[in-house]
Symmetry: C2
Subunit: 189 residues, 2 copies
């Protein structure tokens, strides 16, 4: 754990191209957003700390009151070191699964709604991944990074498709178990 996590994301983003702290916020949100998030309150402190240690260098302002940060040699080395560290799986906390697991208390109908919603979300994500894929094909600036970026897009696509299949199966299953548990009192009134 440690705040290595933030450090890695910040150094990584700067390894693609130098940018301001603000641009870092936006990049992490828009580009890494499918699998990563940083609370913005951490980015500036992390950047300051990295500067203090000589991992990044603050370059003159593109305009007053702003500065662009670039990786130093030591910063690039540190990034490689961080990336080589073992992946620390964050403990799972899936609110949807928690609700389904206690679905007997929640009721089959409410479960159905939740699953439908999850299906919509997954479908929306899938479309987005396809859009990103197309966008990447046209982007010649990052040809060296692209193959790696596509791996993460592919992971998103696989996950989203699995979620859709699961949701469809689950809705069918809920239709079967639903009536018998949820509304036993008004069967054929």
């Amino acid at each position: 754990m440690r705040k290595n996590q933030t450090e890695t994301a910040v150094l990584g983003a700067l390894s693609v191209e130098p940018m301001t702290g603000y641009a870092l916020r936006v990049t992490i949100r828009d580009v890494l957003g499918h699998f990563w998030s940083e609370s913005f309150g951490q980015i500036y402190p992390a950047l300051a700390e990295l500067e203090r240690r000589g991992r990044v260098k603050r370059r003159g302002s593109s305009r007053p009151g702003s500065s662009t940060f670039a990786l130093t040699g030591s910063g690039r080395a540190r990034l490689k070191e961080l990336l080589a560290q073992p992946v620390h799986a964050s403990p799972p906390r899936n609110g949807l699964m928690l609700r389904l697991f206690f679905g007997r208390q929640l009721g089959a109908e409410a479960c159905r709604s939740l699953v439908l919603e999850a299906r919509h979300d997954a479908a929306r994500r899938l479309k987005k991944y396809e859009a990103i894929r197309e966008e990447l094909e046209l982007d010649d600036d990052h040809a060296k990074d692209r193959p790696f970026w596509l791996l993460t897009v592919s992971a998103g696509e696989h996950t989203a498709r699995a979620a859709i299949t699961w949701a469809d199966e689950t809705i069918a299953a809920l239709d079967e178990i639903g009536p018998s548990i949820d509304a036993p009192k008004q069967r054929r009134r």
Copy 2:
């Protein structure tokens, strides 16, 4: 967010059957573990708070120094209320994807290892889900809960299978991009 999360998990577990705080720890780890986690440091305080509010009742000790907690009527109502609240998606933090995204810095070979490891993990999880499924088929005590529990097992299976497929594709892709970027200096020595 709020500690509603812990409250929901604790009340939910107690809705299945009354148990001690210790059993709660074990149950949450072993039964909900596929999609949920609670830090144990929170369980006892949450339990104390729930007792104070009359959501759970502490029943005589099964043995000295221990007490069994059971849901009260108000506790069951509270659980339903909590389950009906919108799912709050926790911000994603996938360390594997972060490493792959910056795979150019890490190197294709190291990426390959990470993906292989992920494949092993997914295969192991898949086997575990199948074991849980079989175990559930034999368990007559929780017939009413079972259909809902199976939904979460199914989700795990779909996710794990998707991860395996993705990993296989990804390893193939890395084999293609790997050599040309990673070891250009010693091509055909």
